[in-house]
């Protein structure tokens, strides 16, 4: 891996001090995400996994509609951009047509748990041999902060300006728990990327998911509970705190479905 000090406007960024380098599979294009957003970290963890497993020639990603619609500009793998919610359908076909390949979808909560609910549930129910990365920040970030299927009760958004009223808008959809019930899912977990510890755990989960694809185990589903400081109208630090205090109690982190013991 090459290291060029000229990229850094910082005296201490010298080769001997280097403890971390960006994976070659993250393109150099600056991320379009808001400062403090978890998407960039989630992207990186997937790309690191592909690089470490040396499966670039056999990996195809599917980008959603939402904030991460441009994921293909940042990820170095071959990527198809899907219509809103349809990523699992694309992934199904690619995986069926290329059974030896690694196919992953990268989807937000509106994409996966609202408009794409049918595709999500049926791909999971058929046990397609794919990885689904589900980034849940409880809001539609791209379109300006509207209520999502995962928006918490009482949470204010631009389409629930007085807070989500369950009587009117229904309850937040715990789609991860829902798909964990289906026999086609092999590994279902919920993680976060807001601290170094959580990043390491998420990386491990993503690695496991890709390893299960290698062994053709069916759907591996990794939810990443994330923040949306712009949509939540908070500073990055406050949004992480709010996420810990409010999102994690409703969407508890940890494994939801583990492979049966051998």
């Amino acid at each position: 891996m090459s290291f060029e000090t000229k990229k850094f406007n910082c005296d201490i960024a010298t080769p001997e001090n280097m403890v971390y380098t960006k994976t070659n599979l993250m393109n150099d294009k600056p991320l379009s995400y808001c400062p403090g957003c978890g998407h960039g970290t989630a992207h990186r963890l997937i790309m690191e996994t592909v690089e470490e497993m040396d499966i670039l020639e056999d990996t195809i990603g599917i980008a959603p509609v939402g904030c991460s619609v441009l994921a293909y500009e940042f990820m170095g793998t071959d990527v198809q951009q899907a219509a809103h919610g349809r990523a699992p359908a694309l992934a199904t076909a690619i995986s069926r047509l290329y059974p030896e390949k690694y196919v992953f979808t990268y989807q937000g909560d509106g994409d996966l748990a609202a408009i794409g609910t049918a595709e999500t549930i049926h791909a999971c129910n058929r046990g397609e041999n794919i990885v689904i990365i589900f980034v849940n920040n409880g809001i539609y970030g791209m379109t300006g902060g509207q209520m999502a299927p995962t928006t918490l009760p009482g949470m204010k958004t631009s389409t629930s300006p007085f807070g989500r009223d369950q009587k009117e808008a229904g309850y937040p959809l715990k789609i991860t728990e829902l798909i964990a019930q289906l026999p086609g899912t092999y590994y279902v977990t919920r993680q976060a990327v807001h601290t170094a510890v959580n990043v390491r755990k998420t990386k491990k989960a993503i690695r496991k998911a890709f390893e299960y694809t290698r062994h053709k185990k069916g759907v591996s589903f990794v939810e990443v509970v994330s923040n949306c400081n712009s949509g939540w109208k908070m500073t990055p630090v406050d949004s992480n705190k709010w996420m810990e205090d409010n999102m994690f109690p409703f969407y508890p982190l940890g494994d939801i479905k583990l492979p049966p013991k051998q």
């Binding site: 393109n27 670039l56 020639e57 056999d58 990996t59 195809i60 599917i62 980008a63 619609v69 441009l70 293909y72 500009e73 990820m75 170095g76 793998t77 071959d78 990527v79 198809q80 951009q81 899907a82 219509a83 349809r86 359908a89 694309l90 992934a91 199904t92 076909a93 690619i94 069926r96 047509l97 290329y98 390949k101 049918a118 595709e119 049926h122």
Partner: protein
């Protein structure tokens, strides 16, 4: 064979890699035939029953984006559901085959044959400025023949190709001569033939991206201009039609699919009565055989567009004729098929 079965068998023989569909009358025999005949054992072709037409067309998008020869089939209400995916595929320039075995509408309509999806098919059924190559078979033989042709056109121009059939042709049984088995492409061939496809990035290239998105209006306009140039090239090179007894015709019928079959009987009846009737049968509906129609404007008293619709294709006949002679429409709707006798009567009343 039934028309729907001929289409299915021809897909296997054309080296199709994958079929993704959802049941709907009157085309369910396509997937039934494929499931029963186990193409995975013959050629390795994948057949999958999806959860909806929406999922089907997006599976087709995924497969096509990965360089595979993929297809779906449906009937009118299902094709309406697929329009989003077709628009995306036109935008992302993905090759595929879609067969619409048309039934009467609007809405749930009926399961009987119709030709009322003409506008949707050739004027761009989904959002945005796009066209898809549309072929209209009028026999079971053509249901089989047009499959390989469609795949070739789809890959030549990187565009979805639609076979616009109807419930009568899908359900009728006729003798059919099937083509030889074509091999499916290997992954090496796909990488060579479709270097744009997302098959997995090799070290010698950047990542391939399949998308219809470009947020920069200048770039999006350039992309649209590129698409329009492509449609122009298609119009210049891929027009297909058949002329029947037009040489001496005083009136020419314009009809495709089932209507064209009925019109052939009308020609017999009319000529017995001394009316010189001919038929232009558009085979490609986009690109439309406008020049073939224009050629006869000095010779005939008028044209009659015969359709199982309220009058959709007649607009393209009028555009081709451009006011030089009379253009009339005769159609039945809701699953009704025009009779040869009625067509002759309409000619007498409205054109002669």
């Amino acid at each position: 064979m039934k028309g729907n079965e001929a289409l299915a068998e021809a897909a296997i023989l054309a080296g199709c890699d994958g079929y993704f569909g959802y049941p709907i009358t009157p085309q369910s025999e396509v997937m039934e035939y494929l499931m029963l005949n186990r193409p995975e054992d013959r050629t390795g072709m994948v057949v999958l029953q999806a959860e909806s037409e929406t999922a089907s067309i997006n599976m087709v998008y995924g497969g096509a984006g990965a360089g595979k020869r993929v297809m779906t089939s449906s009937s009118s209400p299902g094709i309406s559901l697929m329009q989003e995916g077709i628009s995306y595929m036109a935008g992302a320039e993905l090759p595929c085959l879609i067969a619409n075995i048309v039934r009467g509408g609007p809405g749930l309509g009926t399961i009987q044959p119709a030709q009322s999806d003409y506008f949707q098919s050739v004027k761009g059924g989904g959002h945005g400025d796009y066209k898809i190559i549309t072929l209209a078979p009028s026999s079971v033989q053509e249901m089989a023949d047009f499959v390989a042709i469609s795949f070739d056109l789809a890959f030549k121009y990187r565009t979805p190709v639609l076979i616009l059939s109807d419930g009568a042709i899908g359900q009728m049984m006729e003798k059919v001569i099937l083509p030889e088995q074509r091999p499916r492409w290997s992954e090496e061939e796909i990488r060579k033939n479709t270097p744009w496809a997302t098959v997995g990035r090799t070290k010698d290239r950047k990542n391939n991206i399949i998308t219809s998105l470009d947020l920069d209006p200048n770039a999006q306009e350039r992309h649209n201009e590129h698409l329009q140039r492509k449609y122009k090239t298609i119009e210049e090179n891929e027009v297909r039609y058949e002329e029947i007894q037009c040489e001496d015709a005083e009136v020419i019928l314009v009809a495709y699919g089932t209507s064209a079959r009925v019109c052939q009987k009308s020609i017999e009846l009319a000529r017995e009565e001394g009316i010189k009737l001919g038929l232009i049968r558009p085979i490609s509906l986009f690109p439309y055989p406008s020049a073939a129609i224009q050629k006869y404007t000095d010779q005939v008293k008028g044209f009659l567009s015969v359709e199982m619709s309220a009058g959709q294709m007649v607009e393209d006949v009028r555009l081709a004729v451009n006011g030089k002679v009379k253009v009339e429409h005769y159609g039945r709707m809701g699953g009704m098929v025009p009779s040869p006798e009625d067509i002759v009567e309409v000619i007498k009343e409205r054109i002669l």
